[in-house]
């Protein structure tokens, strides 16, 4: 086709050892269209765009740009050819003004290599006016809003005369009021003949802004549809998929009294964004409550507030009736077992030995580990403890004195899980406990989670994997932009409904 500006054919990207991020995807983008690429986290949409842009080498397939096969090896080559990408993390120099950031790398010069300030400012002003971007070229980038910085990134590419713009979740960093302005600007760019590729998982935006939509799921392209003839429901269905939820091995039993409870829990971050808004959540003994939501909708802040890494701006957190909203972390850890999402950073110290990792927290909570009133560590006890953990949780390790990083991901998680479960706690907080694990280890973790339920502990499970939630949880709550927008027993909801709530919040289905 003549008006296809970019064609991707049979693109394959495998992250070693065996994660297929992009699986044989073919898609084409037309000149002068806004084309959205949607999918859940990990669906491969970002990877596909990075392959196109040359940031990630591809393992198979061909890319045609203006009917010529291309193979960009670094971002500079793509920009020179006319393809520019705005990343999620904005890459600008806060100490420089808007115009300096835009011209950096292609500065107009005068004699003696001086930057021709007047001409550079004029060129930038021209671009700003041409696309009605409403920016002050002399403002310091460090002092303008995130939305304005995003515009600077876009202008930087337009200054280099790109005709294709790739935007990676451009609205994720914007406030609701800033979004229409960006959309107006993108619309003008399209009318000007630019092609805009737009990664998103917010369906409402996708439908208002784009001409065509490509849906991806688990590395595969599901379909490319016309935005005018589709609906949010159809897109959601394609995104989440209709895979059968595996039958759960949960034994029925009635949950006990309320163990964990938040009341009107709120948190504002340093820049004043409301990350948690009036969260009221309860977990009973012997109950698993699953927290669903697209990443970045407040789950991380919820977890951190419960563990004590951030101080909520309002509300209370109670465990077993005790108010722990302002309790020190060690105090909380007597009540809470915690498996963080980032094993290497928060869950364990990779360079410390397996034994040292196994006894963390225990060594200060359990008197048996200390001699001479805490002056010395009882290593004999620590060794016995680690041996016990190794047997009980069937960890495969060469020696408990080896560094933690020598363990495989699955075995690392077993040590962390074991350590946390051996704490005599009433409440278990699990943040993405199966992220990055292979299938066998995932199954093991699932068994352990169900065991906690049988032990009558209260479990709060945060997961990006909906199937996991449906497999394990008794009740599923959905977080959307810092709010709890749904709370229902697992039997009374569906994958589709939860998926829809994750994307659309409280809004009624059309």
């Amino acid at each position: 086709m003549i008006d296809d500006v970019i064609r991707l054919e049979n693109i394959v990207k495998v992250y070693p050892p065996s994660v297929v991020a992009v699986d044989n995807v073919s898609v084409s983008f037309r000149k002068g269209e806004i084309h959205a690429v949607v999918g859940e986290n990990g669906a491969g949409k970002s990877t596909l765009m990075k392959v196109l842009y040359g940031l990630v080498p591809r393992d198979g397939g061909e890319i045609y740009y203006q009917d010529r096969p291309v193979h960009f090896r670094q971002a500079g080559e793509a920009i020179a050819a006319g393809i520019g990408m705005v990343h999620q993390e904005i890459l600008l120099i806060p100490e420089y003004t808007v115009w300096q950031n835009i011209v950096l790398g292609q500065e107009p010069t005068r004699f003696l290599g001086q930057v021709d300030t007047a001409r550079a400012r004029r060129l930038v002003k021209q671009k700003i006016d041409e696309f009605q971007f409403n920016l002050d070229p002399d403002a310091l980038v460090g002092e303008i809003s995130v939305a304005a910085r995003q515009k600077v990134e876009i202008l930087k590419l337009l200054y280099r005369n790109v005709s294709v713009l790739i935007l990676d979740e451009p609205t994720a960093v914007l406030t609701p009021q800033e979004i229409p302005q960006l959309f107006g600007e993108l619309g003008r760019l399209r009318d000007d003949g630019h092609t805009i590729l737009f990664i998103s998982h917010r369906l409402e935006e996708v439908l208002t802004l784009s001409d065509r939509v490509t849906v991806m799921r688990r590395g595969k392209k599901i379909d490319t549809v016309d935005a005018k003839t589709t609906s949010k429901e159809e897109l959601a269905r394609m995104m989440v998929g209709r895979d059968v939820v595996l039958t759960s091995q949960r034994r029925e039993h009635a949950p006990g009294e309320v163990i964990f409870e938040t009341e009107h829990l709120s948190y504002k971050d340093g820049e004043g964004r409301q990350k948690l808004n009036d969260i009221n959540l309860t977990v009973r003994a012997g109950e698993i409550v699953g927290v669903a939501g697209v990443e970045g909708n407040g789950q991380f802040e919820l977890v951190n507030a419960v563990v004590g890494l951030i101080q909520p701006s309002g509300g209370t957190i109670r465990v077993q009736g005790r108010d722990i909203t302002r309790a020190p972390i060690l105090e909380r850890r007597r009540l809470i077992s915690f498996v963080p999402q980032d094993r290497g950073r928060m869950g364990a110290s990779l360079n410390a030995s397996i034994l040292e990792n196994a006894i963390m927290t225990h060594h200060s909570l359990d008197q048996n580990f200390s001699r001479w009133h805490g002056l010395l560590l009882d290593y004999a006890h620590a060794r016995r403890f680690t041996d016990g953990l190794e047997k009980q949780f069937s960890v495969a390790m060469a020696s408990k004195f080896n560094p933690f990083r020598s363990l495989s991901g699955g075995n690392q998680q077993k040590v962390i899980l074991g350590r946390e479960l051996l704490l005599d706690s009433v409440f278990v907080l699990l943040d993405q406990p199966t992220r990055g694990l292979d299938v066998g280890s995932i199954e093991y973790v699932h068994q352990q989670v169900l065991r906690m339920r049988d032990e009558n502990r209260a479990v709060l499970l945060v997961s990006a994997d909906l199937e996991e939630l449906f497999l394990l949880a008794d009740r599923i709550v959905v977080m959307h932009r810092g709010e709890l927008v749904a709370d229902s027993p697992v039997g009374q909801t569906s994958l589709e409904e939860v998926g829809y709530r994750m994307l659309e919040g409280r809004g009624e289905p059309r």
């Binding site: 971002a75 500079g76 920009i79 020179a80 890459l91 600008l92 120099i93 806060p94 100490e95 420089y96 300096q100 950031n101 950096l104 790398g105 292609q106 500065e107 010069t109 003696l112 290599g113 001086q114 930057v115 930087k156």
Partner: protein, 297 residues
């Protein structure tokens, strides 16, 4: 009056090597390199200057050789920290220690002396008498008749200022320090900017070294840079690399240097007088931290 002129001239002579080295360090500071190798580069330069001047019978060739010797250190620095990505601090320490050892060894081997090599054959960098100005009472004694390198240092302040803040080169250089990823994604190689910064730094440190051994005195002594490279690093950090600020701080250090020499005339033991510049560094650091704390609050 004599005393004042002596003090001022002492200050200028003391400030010049620190100023030149610190201006070189300003390039690497803005390029985002933690460069502590000024000390070693200066020492290598001082030795190169004496070798060139003594064997080639020309102070000009002495300066050329001083720059060449400093550049050798810079190339090693570039190989390790820019190409091989080793730690800059460790690389810098290694180079500084290497410079002490290498110059001491080479001096003993080439000149068959220990400690100090002084010889009639070493041709110093001349002093420059400026006509008309030298006639002015008092001012003439300060502004005219200084060592050629002093005037080069003054010009260097202006040139470095221009290069860093007005030119395309400077804009990219500072970008390399502010946000290397951003510069790379703008199509400019950060590694290339850092290489350029280190080479420029070596040129200026070479000049500083040449002034030490062919201007300040006419001899080479083991480890004669005596911490001036470190003081120049302190100067850079104190004023966040600004060349004009570096000039002011350098004069301050130069003043304490001159004061130290003056105090010797008043029978203060030399062990104490040579402490003065270092004590001044500590005092400056204290005031700097107070200022920083106020700025943050």
């Amino acid at each position: 009056m004599r005393l004042l002129v002596g003090l001022i001239n002492g200050m200028i002579a003391g400030a010049t090597p620190i100023l030149l080295a610190a201006l070189g360090g300003a390039f690497t500071y803005y390029a985002g390199i933690f460069n502590i190798a000024m000390e070693g580069m200066m020492l290598a330069g001082a030795f190169g200057a004496v070798v060139g001047s003594y064997f080639l019978h020309s102070w000009v060739l002495g300066i050329v050789l001083s720059i060449a010797f400093a550049l050798v250190l810079a190339l090693i620095f570039i190989l390790f920290s820019v190409v091989l990505h080793t730690d800059e601090f460790v690389t810098g320490i290694a180079l500084n220690l290497f410079a002490v050892g290498a110059t001491t060894y080479l001096m003993r081997q080439t000149f068959n002396v220990k400690g100090v090599f002084a010889n009639e054959g070493i041709i110093p960098i001349p002093r420059l008498d400026i006509p008309l100005i030298e006639q002015i009472p008092f001012l003439g004694e300060v502004l005219s008749g200084q060592n050629l390198m002093v005037y080069i240092a003054v010009i260097a302040v202006i040139a470095v200022n221009f290069l860093i803040f007005r030119t395309r080169f400077g804009m990219r250089l500072r970008a390399a320090g502010y946000n290397a990823a951003c510069l790379d994604s703008s199509g400019v190689s950060t590694a290339r900017m850092r290489t350029a910064a280190l080479l420029l730094c070596a040129v200026l440190c070479g000049l500083a070294g040449a002034f030490l051994s062919l201007g300040y005195v006419t001899l080479f002594a083991e480890n004669m840079s005596a911490g001036r490279g470190w003081i120049s690093l302190a100067a850079i950090i104190l004023v966040s690399g600004n060349p004009t600020g570096i000039a002011v701080i350098s004069l301050l250090f130069g003043f304490s240097d001159g004061l130290g020499l003056l105090l010797q005339d008043y029978r203060v033991p030399s062990q104490f007088t040579s402490m003065v510049p270092y004590v001044a560094t500590l005092i400056a650091l204290y005031f700097y931290s107070v200022k920083e704390r106020k700025r943050k609050a």
